[in-house]
């Protein structure tokens, strides 16, 4: 439940104001829409990751799943736009299967999800490279890439809205509803807060956890489709995305090992990271230094949260 404005929104607003001062175009509708479009995959991924984090787990496999979606789609579509629809359906099925596997191994074989999904990270990346022979092959047709790079035109007031932003909005609303307004969401938080207590009070822990991993994997499939559209076929498109998603959720106030986290916070965390990169880019920081500052910021944010918790 969101009781008051979490600090992440203040930080996000401050960074956005700063960017606008440096680059007035950012504060216009098209400028902000472009920003949201670039941030959409990471924000969707953070939303999915949060389901797993509040339940006390990690999903490290999402980055490799993104790579598999991008490479696998280009292989299966094979240049024929008529294949796009069923290939996207197949990708969602693969995602659901990965999520069920992650959740089932964690729940029934008692392998910590950090390890389960680390194994999946290695396996899925290997599988994607095996499938394509290690090099990006083929291309994604326009009707696949439209979701990641095109805009819906003729929208009243806003004129053009990227499809990615509409998808982000839908994901945000659905995910917020699922986590904060359903019994499953409450069970997830209970499971993360105290797994034994949750089990003893009748929470079907395996089912609840498997669904969380399915949600996370599904978000990775959506993010993969958007990234494939935005930047095309590459073998390292998903690398490191899992750590970005975890960082975003944590910046948004989620507690690792479970029990606490808000969906608007996690999405704002991802937007903040993207805004920060935009800002540092405008200030002329080279990319490695930007990554370095990200490290300091996530430590600072978590230390601040821990300090506030101890004081209260």
């Amino acid at each position: 439940m969101v009781r008051r404005v979490p600090p992440i929104f203040v930080v996000l607003l401050a960074i956005c104001v700063w960017i606008s001062l440096l680059n007035p175009r950012f504060a216009t509708v098209p400028g902000f829409m472009s920003f949201l479009m670039r941030a959409a995959p990471a924000a969707i991924l953070a939303a999915g990751q949060l389901f797993v984090i509040v339940a006390g787990g990690f999903d490290l496999s999402v980055g490799s799943l993104i790579t598999l979606v991008v490479l696998g789609s280009s292989m299966l579509i094979d240049g024929d736009p008529a294949n796009t629809a069923w290939v996207i359906a197949v990708m969602f099925l693969i995602g659901i299967a990965v999520g069920v596997f992650n959740g089932a191994v964690t729940s029934w074989l008692k392998v910590p999800s950090f390890i389960t999904t680390l194994g999946m990270l290695v396996t899925l990346k290997g599988f994607a490279l095996l499938w394509t022979g290690g090099a990006p092959r083929g291309f994604l047709p326009n009707n696949f890439r439209v979701f990641g790079r095109n805009r819906l035109t003729g929208v009243p007031l806003l004129d053009e809205v990227p499809y990615a932003v509409i998808i982000l909005l839908v994901v945000a609303v659905v995910a917020t509803y699922l986590l904060h307004r359903t019994g499953w969401g409450k069970q997830l938080i209970a499971l993360g807060d105290n797994p034994r207590a949750a089990r003893l009070s009748g929470v079907p822990t395996a089912k609840v956890r498997i669904l969380a991993f399915v949600a996370s994997a599904t978000s990775a499939v959506i993010a993969g489709i958007l990234l494939g559209g935005f930047s095309g076929v590459s073998t390292n498109v998903g690398d490191g995305q899992e750590l970005g998603a975890i960082s975003a959720a944590v910046l948004g106030g989620a507690k690792l090992l479970g029990g606490r986290g808000t969906m608007p916070g996690a999405i704002a965390g991802a937007l903040t990271l993207q805004a920060l990169f935009t800002l540092l880019n405008l200030l002329g920081w080279p990319k490695p230094l930007r990554d370095g500052l990200q490290g300091v910021i996530i430590i600072g944010a978590v230390a601040y949260t821990a300090w506030r918790e101890r004081r209260s």
Binding site: A55, G56, G57, L60, V105, T106, S107, L109, K110, V111, P112, S113, F114, I115, T116, L118, G119, M120, L121, V122, T123, L124, K125, G126, F127, L129, L130, G134, L191, G192, P195, R196, A198, R199, T205, R209, L243, I246, S247, V250, L256, L257, G258, P286, P288, L289, D291, G292, L293, Q294, G295, V296, I297, I298, I299, V302, A303, A306, W307, R310
Partner: protein, 324 residues
């Protein structure tokens, strides 16, 4: 404090991971003999398997300390890059600079381990985030300052990677020495016993009078110093360090994988470095086998992920606790 008896933690015999190691060895032997090219059981190949294990093995020993204490270290890959670059940059091919280079990188390792430990214990930042953050920070500084191979190690320094001691390669001697030292610290010192206590149940350890923070900081310093040694080995092997050598080897996730395949519990408190050595050797045997079978690197990767999950499942499946 000196009066009480310390119960020797850990198992007296070999950890169960050695059973998997034996299984992997036999499976690789049979498969390569039937379908592969070359001899699996030749002295050259066995030596090759060990040499393959050195870089990952050393850093995995340090990672075992962090994980045994209930923590984790994601910064090792970046520290390996920092070490390899700094060592070859300071040496500039001159043997007179070897000592200075080693002192500098050891000091960096000490500082990074101390910083990781302090952030985790004093600022109460989750270890995953803390070491992810310090790793990103180090890599940022490094990649801003260096874009390519920097300097060169002294030719004398390459002994660390290419020298032999009788028939045994020096790197293998170093690896076994590090494992022996790690086992000694873990099983025969008070610090080791305290580390098991902290990893087993930090709150109970604290209430029984252990300074848990110091123990964890010590574990992180060991993890960082082992990453430094791996970085030195890689610099010796390549002749120079580049800012991507650590990440290219995925030493962060691979070392964690080797530790848990070796039977150390991710939650801490159970396991040891001998198991970690078995975990690393299992990976090297599989690598060697897939090479000799000529199946290519990607199939190997597909299998490796499943091996990680299956090995850990075999240890955890009887647990009745909820695992997150």
């Amino acid at each position: 404090m000196s009066g009480y008896v310390i119960r020797k933690p850990g198992r007296a015999g070999l950890p169960p991971a050695f059973l998997f190691l034996a299984g992997a060895f036999v499976a690789a032997w049979v498969l390569v003999s039937l379908f592969g090219r070359g001899q699996f059981l030749s002295a050259a190949n066995i030596s090759n398997i060990f040499v393959r294990s050195v870089a990952l093995g050393i850093v995995a020993v340090g990672q075992s300390f962090a994980i045994l204490g209930g923590s984790i270290d994601l910064s090792v890959a970046h520290l390996i890059s920092v070490t390899a670059v700094m060592a070859s940059f300071i040496m500039q091919g001159d043997p007179a600079n070897i000592a200075r280079a080693i002192v500098v990188v050891a000091a960096i390792g000490l500082g990074v381990g101390l910083l990781n430990g302090l952030i985790i214990t004093k600022l109460r930042v989750n270890a995953l985030i803390a070491t992810l953050g310090t790793g990103l920070f180090m890599q940022g500084l490094l990649s801003t300052s260096f874009q390519n191979f920097a300097g060169a190690v002294a030719p004398e320094f390459e002994v660390l990677a290419y020298g032999t001691w009788g028939p045994v390669p020096i790197p293998v001697v170093v690896l076994l020495g590090v494992v022996a030292l790690g086992a000694l610290v873990m099983h025969r010192t008070r610090f080791g016993a305290r580390l098991y206590a902290v990893g087993g149940h930090a709150e109970v350890a604290r209430l029984s009078g252990l300074r848990t923070d110091r123990v964890l900081i010590g574990a992180h310093i060991i993890a960082s110093l082992s990453a430094v040694l791996t970085g030195l080995f890689i610099a010796a092997r390549l002749g120079a360090g580049a800012p991507w050598v650590g990440q290219d080897g995925v030493y962060d996730l691979e070392s964690i994988a080797a530790v848990v395949v070796g039977g150390t519990a991710l939650a801490g408190g159970r396991g040891g470095v001998l198991g970690t050595l078995a975990g690393v050797l299992i990976f090297s045997i599989m690598d060697s086998m897939f090479n000799q079978l000529g199946t290519g690197a990607f199939l190997k990767q597909v299998f490796r992920g499943f091996i990680i999950i299956a090995a850990v499942a075999s240890y955890s499946v009887r647990s009745r606790e909820e695992v997150g």
